[in-house]
């Protein structure tokens, strides 16, 4: 008995001419066995090899509906997947990050089965391949924000329409789905699987790009940036003020050593105090603007349970 739910599978692909064929056939088969109605949305992120032609030649072998979303230039994974999920119409949507497959096809069915037991987002990640760098990043992020993001690098996830809609309505331009899904506040579960092979995911970002994304995530999803700025300008403000005070005291007690020292020190102290005061105020404004900009809703509710014995 096939599931009646309509599911979409959004697949990211970039220069994968050798893998795409087997992958699509496999995915099509597993979805066909499990679901009555499904669609595959393949996001082709401006592949420069033969990916597009290979996909076209596959069309007759695919039983389900296959939509290919060709991006006009390289958008990278986050935005490409956003476009794909925007187009998907399913009640549940699979997000498949890569056509490099290191899991058994049953995992796709398992994710759905897990999800219908009450989880709006279910991730699957391979056992033991989490990098120390990602661990450090997520530990830090979790520490600095109210998020509790799992440090594993997931390969496939399934999201309910309810959760997806909330994430898609998020207006922010800095998109990091892993965090956004965490942020949507719905129940989440994980499936850990034994990878069938070690695959080198092939870093698609340079170190600089990673640092840039990481700092964006920190700034958007925690207030660490403005907090540091605030703290630093406040400390500097106090420092400048006390130097000014010191200059006045030495002048009054007649301990001036070099002529003109007092005036110079006073000027510096007043100037810097003013500057740091302005910076403190601006940091405060920036964080306020950031908060105003970010969320459609000021709070994120997971569920409203009415408990009553009546």
């Amino acid at each position: 008995m096939k599931e009646k739910t309509f599911v979409s599978a959004v697949v990211y692909t970039y220069n994968a001419e050798t893998l795409i064929g087997d992958f699509l056939r496999g995915l099509d088969n597993v979805l066909r066995d499990k679901f009555e109605l499904y669609e595959i949305v393949l996001v082709n992120d401006y592949s420069t090899d033969n990916t597009k032609a290979v996909i076209k030649s596959l069309a007759s072998e695919i039983h389900g509906t296959l939509t290919v979303l060709n991006l006009a230039w390289r958008h990278k994974r986050e935005l490409a997947m956003l476009a794909g999920t925007d187009l998907a119409i399913g009640d549940f949507v699979y997000e498949i990050e890569s056509v490099r497959q290191d899991y058994d096809w049953n995992l796709i069915a398992d994710l759905y089965d897990k999800s219908v037991t009450g989880y709006d987002v279910v991730y699957a990640y391979p056992k033991g391949v989490t990098k120390a760098k990602s661990k450090l990043f997520y530990n830090l992020l979790n520490h600095l924000s109210h998020l509790r993001v799992d440090p594993h690098t997931e390969t496939v996830k399934i999201i309910s329409r309810k959760a997806l809609n909330r994430v898609l309505l998020e207006r922010g331009k800095v998109r990091y789905r892993k965090v956004l899904y965490k942020y949507c506040g719905f129940p989440t579960a994980y499936i850990e699987y034994e990878p069938s092979k070690r695959i080198d995911a092939g870093d698609e970002m340079s170190l600089m790009q990673k640092i840039s994304l990481a700092s964006d995530v920190f700034i958007v999803f925690s207030n660490v940036g403005t907090q540091i700025a605030m703290l630093f300008s406040t400390v500097s403000l106090i420092l400048s003020l006390s130097i000014g005070l010191y200059a006045v005291v030495t002048f009054l007690t007649g301990h001036t050593t070099i002529s003109g020292w007092t005036t110079t020190m006073l000027f510096l102290a007043i100037g810097f105090s003013g500057l740091f005061l302005v910076l403190t105020v601006m940091a405060k404004y920036l964080s306020a603007i950031l908060i105003e900009q970010r969320h459609g809703s000021l709070y994120t509710v997971q569920s409203v349970d009415k408990l009553s014995n009546r």
């Binding site: 309509f6 009555e36 109605l37 669609e39 509906t65 939509t67 925007d86 187009l87 119409i89 399913g90 009640d91 809609n165 898609l168 309505l169």
Partner: protein, 373 residues
């Protein structure tokens, strides 16, 4: 004695019947042949039943203007067959649309058609729609139009309709065609007008003319029953891979169509060749059978179309599937880019005359005035 006609018309769709009636009024001796058992058995019936007022073509002002020009004329002439008792809403999807709300409004102003902004949240889920407009567009009842035309035709003894008939062979003898029909009947005609739609190239091929550059799509029009909330509304989401749910005629039935799921199979050959033809001995590259009655017709894509509509519509607007109609639609390849739907009237030769008419819209039937002489 071989029968002689001034004009032989091929195809008893709206174009064929309309020309027959006009020529009948002029006193010409006309034979109208139709391969199916009844008039309006294919595309004249199996379509969105929309009286186009131009809204559908936001990237082709010329098509829009022409539709708008004929809109009131068509509604006046076929008034009893027109359903204008519903609120027609056009909405622009906020994602993947080629046109946004502001551009659509501008386009309507250029084309001189009504377009009043309304609140999208009345019908659509949050975030899905850029802008929604109340417009002036109606639906027609194809069978009522058919009956009106047939009634008019019955007053003209000089016009004859022959069903289950098609041309087997043709010869030119002097200034006229000598035609052999499938029932071995022979006749002469001074002029042939080809008003077939999906079979247009097959007829041109038979007469030895250059074929149109078209692609063919087997299309499904899903009929459905709206719930009471939807009853008096027609909703069309533009301008890209979206859908339309609106009244289909006058009896309360609605049609659901979608840009991605309505076409099932596409053929890019000059003559229509489909895999499903192996499942029907009466259908081939040279003669198309009626898809709607075909045992090998495609499996309905209702589930997909419905899912797409659900993604957009508020839950209170609902509808259920009743049946699906299938027909082949030819699309001129030149009009792919701007999505225009021109009416092509081409005279292929004179004495004897051969004219072919190809149009994707019912209410541009008035373009035919130049053929009717």
């Amino acid at each position: 004695m071989i029968d002689q006609y001034n004009t032989l018309i091929i195809g008893a769709g709206i174009y064929g019947l309309y020309i027959a009636r006009e020529l009948g009024r002029l006193g010409q001796k006309v034979l109208l042949i139709e391969t199916d058992k009844e008039a309006f058995s294919r595309a004249s019936y199996i379509n969105q039943a929309r009286v186009h007022n131009g809204y559908h073509y936001p990237r082709s002002v010329s098509t829009a203007r022409k539709s708008a020009k004929y809109f009131s004329r068509f509604n006046d002439e076929f008034a009893p067959a027109i359903n204008d008792q519903f609120r027609k809403v056009y909405a622009l999807s906020s994602k993947f649309s080629y046109t946004n709300g502001i551009q659509f409004q501008k386009f309507c102003t250029y084309s001189g058609i009504k377009c009043k902004a309304i609140d999208p949240s009345e019908y659509f889920q949050p975030g899905m729609i850029d802008a929604a407009f109340e417009t002036e567009e109606y639906a027609f009842d194809a069978f009522m139009i058919r009956d009106m035309l047939l009634r008019d035709l019955s007053n003209h003894d000089n016009v004859l309709i022959s069903f289950e008939t098609h041309i087997h062979a043709m010869q030119i003898e002097g200034n006229r065609y000598r035609l052999t029909l499938n029932n071995d009947k022979l006749l002469y005609a001074d002029r042939v007008i080809n008003t077939t739609y999906a079979s247009v190239n097959q007829v041109l091929d038979l007469f030895g003319f250059e074929k149109f550059k078209i692609k063919y799509e087997i299309c499904e029009i899903a009929l459905c029953k709206p719930n009471h909330k939807l009853q008096n509304v027609g909703l069309t989401v533009m301008d890209g891979p979206f859908f339309s749910v609106m009244p289909f005629g006058l009896d309360g039935t609605f049609s659901l169509t979608s840009v991605t799921f309505t076409p099932h199979v596409t053929c890019y050959d000059k003559l229509p060749k489909f895999d499903c033809q192996s499942g029907n001995p009466n259908c081939s590259e040279t003669h198309l059978d009626n898809c709607n009655l075909c045992p090998a017709k495609p499996k309905s894509a209702w589930g997909f179309m419905y899912q797409l509509a659900r993604r957009y519509l508020n839950n209170e607007y609902d509808f259920e599937h009743t049946e699906s109609l299938y027909a082949i639609k030819p699309i001129l390849l030149a009009s792919e880019l701007d999505d225009s739907r021109p009416t092509v009237i081409r005279q292929f030769r004179s004495a004897p005359d051969f004219v072919s008419v190809l149009s994707g819209k019912i209410n541009t039937v008035y373009d035919l005035s130049e053929v009717i002489r």
